[in-house]
């Protein structure tokens, strides 16, 4: 668990640090330091293991079935990186304490920093590839937070988003790569991956795997052509830059190269892709660095260049090159971190990082200048400093490879050129900041930084020196263990020393030093050239163009699809339905019609069918004259009910008839507030298009119906017919199905009705519509709201209608009828009273509380269903029995009747709720007017 806890510590620490900031600014820093140390302490006991040649692996189950476990690994490479992350991390914590200003939130900064540190630690200590990826993405996320720390600055926001986008791209690619790798190996564990190197390299999926993983590596390590995000990430506070861009974030990419080196390297694809990208990056970074006026810009491109160098080394695929790569990782971390911190100090003290304004700082801050000069010299590869050693190993390997490969000395020449450029920009950094005359127009007068701000730089610079002077005594064991961890194999012969005699590498170093000095001396024409032509060449332009294209494309597609038009939605849906319904018929042997014998056609049915069709078409044709359309659609409803009657469905006919009238009343209520006539449509193309769709849809459903009707079928209906009387106690099978066999459907159905009522009630609240004071033809309304004869006679009809309703309700179980129809009849009977007498009259006489009726109905239906629980039967189990009372005689009682009564109540309640409230719309308006 120790490795797990080491990784977990910074994450938990992030919260502690944030909390500590409440105590005071320094507490955050102290807490962050403590957290870093704690992580180090968790690891410390295990440090000797890699030196002893042992790899520590700790496993914890997470998703074992998917091969995704928490698995940690401490080998040489992990140890090396963990040490750098925590060690430099500690220095950064210290440095940042003095760097951040009063306005900056300490808690937020250190909290993000801890998140980042934990993520980095997770990457390097992961044994499981997917877990590694998790931490990998976490570094992207936490660096987003760190880069955008000064969120009010536009460049910080942009830089952070760019870094996230580019490294995010790599992360997603790498996820693919790791999945493929795991697929090839059969495991995501590094141990298994290392053991399957040959299997991997010979697998047909090797190239896609490699490319996807390298995309991750290259984006993270800012390799060409993905390098552009890194300079923009310099918008981060300098401690962040120092940390992310020296020892950590960007090193994650090269760490992964080293990590997967045993599994993936050694193929031509690896060689060309990795070393190709590395070489291009090396040269490009070094070249651009020379022209940056911003101190951190220079360092950023220098970082890009050095990352290219390391990548190139790993690409070469020789063990010695790999050792050199690991060595340069260490060295670059030390000198680049110190340089960033120095730059930060300069920025902090002078208020600018522009080298055109920063001049002659030597006089103001000689001590800092000295430190910076040593570090810069290491960066340039000056002997006696650590940079020289690894760079010389690099030159040696380049020369060696050049001798073997086609192209002869091209590689050697190019890397020497890169070395020369590095020398040139290092000189520039020193010369233009500390010397080169007087400072121009600085925001403040620079002076030496606080004591403790220098300490981290001092430590790192000392490291540069001691390693450079006595590598064998200092860095050698660490390098050995790191290189061994990289190679996962015995180390090659190499010799860490300042002096290797006269050899090509030494020559290249000397040429680079001399060449660098020369280039710097000739910098003015170069600068002019650069400013004139080459500044415009920036990968960021491409990035922005791509991003703009993405936004433009997204907007175009989204707006093309979604115009906010309902007609379009309906159209899409209909077309989709037609395609889905038609597709199976193409190339199918299924005949359209079956061989079932049909019924003969009789003249009355034909007449009814004709009426329905004419009425339908008339409705369509006349739909702009809305009242007329309402009348013709009434005919359609009537004929549909007739069809139900004709084809043995009396219940349906009754229901359809009642619903029909309520719907017409509803539509009339609504029509009052809507335009009575609609204008002719001007878009005739649309009319034709819709007509065509309608024709196809109509034909489709007609054919579908025809196809089914002409086929025989077996049905479960027999069961209902057989069991309706013995099992359900009713002879009206449809009703028994509704209240018993499928009573659950009915419960749902009345819930829908109740919901419709309640929903409408909610909708109508605060609804205000202008009531027209004259009709469509401009006539004032009739003065007589409640015509006498109608009022008097409908009143007489009420008891009759209610009697009919009770009749229909009571007989429903055995004869056509039932709660629903009875409910509608009742509602209609009451609505007629509203029509005849008006809402005010009815309100005086009838409590308008329809909602309790709905509730009672639902409750009755539900609790009737629940009653069966008492007998240990499932919900809605019905029971019935025959009674005998004196005088009254025999009769049947069924629990389903109570259920049906519930249905009745809901229907009455909901229908009245809807109609009465809709009818009261106008009323409330008058009331409101009167009130005003």
């Amino acid at each position: 668990m120790t490795l797990f806890f080491a990784v977990l510590t910074p994450f938990v620490g992030a919260a502690l640090v944030a909390l500590a900031s409440r105590l005071g600014r320094s507490y955050s820093a102290w807490a962050a330091g403590a957290v870093t140390l704690a992580a180090l302490l968790w690891l410390a006991p295990s440090f000797p293991l890699p030196f002893a040649g042992t790899t520590l692996i700790q496993q914890h189950d997470w998703m074992p079935a998917l091969g995704l476990n928490l698995a940690f690994r401490l080998d040489g490479l992990a140890l090396l990186f963990a040490g750098m992350i925590l060690g430099i991390g500690l220095l950064i914590v210290l440095y940042a304490r003095y760097y951040l200003s009063e306005r900056d939130s300490m808690g937020r900064f250190y909290s993000y920093l801890m998140l980042f540190m934990g993520s980095m630690l997770g990457i390097v200590l992961s044994e499981n590839l997917i877990q590694l990826l998790v931490f990998w993405e976490l570094t992207s996320l936490s660096s987003f937070l760190l880069i955008s720390y000064w969120q009010h600055r536009e460049e910080a926001r942009h830089g952070a988003r760019m870094a996230l986008a580019v490294t995010g791209l790599g992360g997603f690619a790498m996820l693919g790569g790791f999945l493929l790798l795991g697929h090839i190996v059969g495991s995501y564990e590094l141990s298994d991956v290392f053991a399957s190197g040959d299997l991997i390299r010979e697998h047909p999926l090797y190239v896609p795997t490699l490319v996807l993983i390298l995309l991750g590596v290259f984006t993270k390590s800012a390799q060409f052509p993905f390098h552009f995000w890194l300079p923009h990430a310099m918008a981060a506070p300098t401690p962040v830059s120092a940390y992310l861009h020296s020892a950590t974030m960007v090193k994650a990419g090269v760490f992964l190269l080293a990590r997967l080196y045993p599994a993936l390297s050694g193929t031509p694809e690896w060689f060309w892709l990795v070393s190709g990208a590395g070489l291009a990056t090396l040269l490009l970074g070094a070249y651009v660095a020379l022209f940056k006026h911003d101190l951190k810009g220079l360092l950023a491109y220098s970082t890009i260049s050095h990352l290219g160098l390391i990548t190139l080394l790993f690409g070469l695929s020789t063990p010695l090159a790999a050792v050199a790569g690991v060595f340069h990782i260490i060295n670059h971390a030390t000198f680049k971190a110190s340089l960033f911190m120095a730059a930060g100090i300069i920025d902090h003290e002078a208020g600018t990082r522009d080298m055109r304004r920063l001049n002659g700082l030597w006089t103001f801050m000689p001590y800092t200048a000295t430190l910076a000069m040593v570090a810069a010299a290491a960066m340039a590869g000056v002997p006696l400093l650590n940079g020289f050693l690894s760079k010389e190993m690099f030159f040696a390997e380049a020369a060696h490879i050049s001798a073997d490969h086609l192209g002869g000395w091209t590689l050697a020449a190019l890397v020497t050129l890169a070395g020369a450029l590095a020398v040139a920009y290092s000189i520039r950094f020193i010369h233009e900041v500390f010397f080169n005359g007087e400072p121009t127009d600085l925001p403040r007068t620079p002076h030496e930084p606080p004591r403790w701000m220098k300490v981290p730089v001092e430590i790192l610079v000392v490291l540069c020196l001691v390693v450079g002077i006595a590598p064998a005594l200092t860095v050698a064991p660490l390098l050995a263990v790191g290189a061994a961890g990289t190679l996962q194999a015995p180390l090659p012969e190499y010799h860490l020393a300042l002096w290797h005699g006269f050899n090509p590498a030494l020559a290249m170093s000397l040429i680079a030093l001399a060449g660098g000095a020369t280039i710097y001396a000739l910098r003015r024409p170069l600068f002019a050239l650069q400013e004139r032509y080459l500044d415009r060449l920036d990968a960021r332009v491409v990035y922005n163009a791509l991003l703009d294209a993405l936004f433009a494309l997204s907007q175009w597609i989204t707006r093309t699809l979604d115009t906010g038009s309902l007609q379009r939605q309906v159209f899409f849906f209909l077309v989709a339905a037609l395609l889905l319904g038609l597709a199976p018929w193409f190339g199918s042997a299924t005949p359209l019609a079956g061989n079932r014998q049909g019924l003969p056609l009789d003249p009355v049915s034909l007449l009814a069918g004709f009426t329905l069709i004419v009425a339908s078409l008339a409705t369509v044709w006349l739909h702009r004259q809305r009242l007329v359309a309402l009348i013709t659609i009434g005919v359609v409803g009537l004929v549909v009910s007739l069809a139900f009657v004709k084809f043995s469905a009396p219940d349906l006919a009754l229901t359809q008839l009642s619903v029909e009238i309520v719907t017409i009343v509803l539509l009339l209520l609504a029509l009052y507030f809507l335009p009575q006539h609609a204008a002719r449509e001007r878009n005739l193309g649309r009319v034709w298009r819709d007509g065509a769709i309608a024709l196809v849809a109509g034909s489709g459903t007609a054919l579908l119906a025809w196809a089914v009707l002409t086929r025989p079928y077996d049905t479960i209906a027999g069961y209902f017919l057989d069991n309706s009387v013995p099992g359900g106690g009713g002879t009206n099978v449809v009703n028994v199905i509704l209240v018993d066999f499928r009573g659950y459907d009915t419960l749902g159905e009345i819930t829908v009705l109740a919901l419709a009522g309640l929903g409408i009630y909610a909708l109508l609240e605060n609804l205000r519509l202008d009531a027209p004071d004259r009709d469509a033809a401009g006539r004032a309304w009739n003065r007589d709201p409640y015509p006498l004869i109608m009022a008097t006679l409908t009143q007489l009809l009420l008891p009759l209608a209610l009697l009919v309703a009770v009749f229909i309700l009571l007989r429903g179980h055995n004869q056509p009828g039932g709660g629903f129809i009875a409910g509608l009849v009742t509602a209609v009977a009451l609505i007629v009273q509203y029509l005849a007498h008006g809402s005010a009259h009815m309100r005086e006489r009838l409590s308008g509380a329809t909602q309790p009726v709905i509730a009672a109905g639902l409750a009755l239906a539900t609790f009737t269903g629940l009653a069966s629980w008492a007998f240990e039967h499932p919900f809605l189990t019905s029971t019935f029995g025959h009674m005998h009372w004196p005088v009254v005689g025999d009769f049947e009682l069924a629990s389903a009747m109570a259920f049906d009564l519930g249905v009745f109540l809901v229907v009455v309640g909901a229908t009245l709720l809807i109609l009465v409230n809709l009818g009261a719309l106008h009323d409330s308006r008058i009331a409101r007017k009167a009130h005003r």
């Binding site: 006498l788 009919v804 007989r811 009273q833 009254v888």
Partner: protein
């Protein structure tokens, strides 16, 4: 009593209608019919006019017979007109002065007029003093008015407006 049984006549009517409806004349349904005949008016008593008073039942019965006879005769007359030449019709609106006062009586008169020979009630004037009738084929408007008043209005007045 009035409260519990607001409309005894109605109760009886409804009970009879119930028996017609269920098409069964069993004791159970008689009980149920009476029960409903009581329950429905009771439950909707607030929606009912204060009371309907009916005097003169023999007049009522005679009136019903007259109306039924007139309906049949009137229908035959209308049928003849429909089958004849439409252009030979002499349609007219006729104003019938009303003596009836109660809503129910006026309404029943209007209904009766609509169901009987060639007339349809169109309008009760705002002051309820006249009833406008549309006549399909008018020979003598004054005679028609007289006939309506004598044949329908008088008995209705006797039945409903003599309490």
């Amino acid at each position: 009593m009035k409260r519990l049984l607001p409309h005894p006549l109605l109760t009886l009517t409804l009970a009879v209608l119930w028996l017609l409806l269920v098409n069964t004349f069993s004791a159970g349904h008689m009980v149920l019919g009476l029960l409903l005949g009581w329950l429905i008016p009771f439950a909707t008593r607030s929606l009912w006019p204060q009371s309907v008073c009916i005097r003169n039942v023999p007049v009522l019965l005679r009136y019903l017979v007259v109306v039924m006879h007139d309906i049949v005769v009137g229908s035959f007359r209308v049928a003849r007109l429909i089958l004849g030449r439409p252009s030979s019709l002499r349609p007219a609106f006729i104003t019938v002065p009303l003596e009836l006062k109660t809503d129910l009586a006026i309404s029943l008169l209007a209904n009766t007029i609509s169901l009987t020979p060639g007339t349809v009630s169109v309008l009760v004037s705002d002051d309820r003093r006249t009833l406008t009738v549309h006549s399909l084929d008018t020979e003598d408007a004054a005679a028609m008015v007289a006939e309506i008043k004598h044949r329908y209005e008088a008995p209705l007045k006797a039945i409903f407006e003599s309490c």
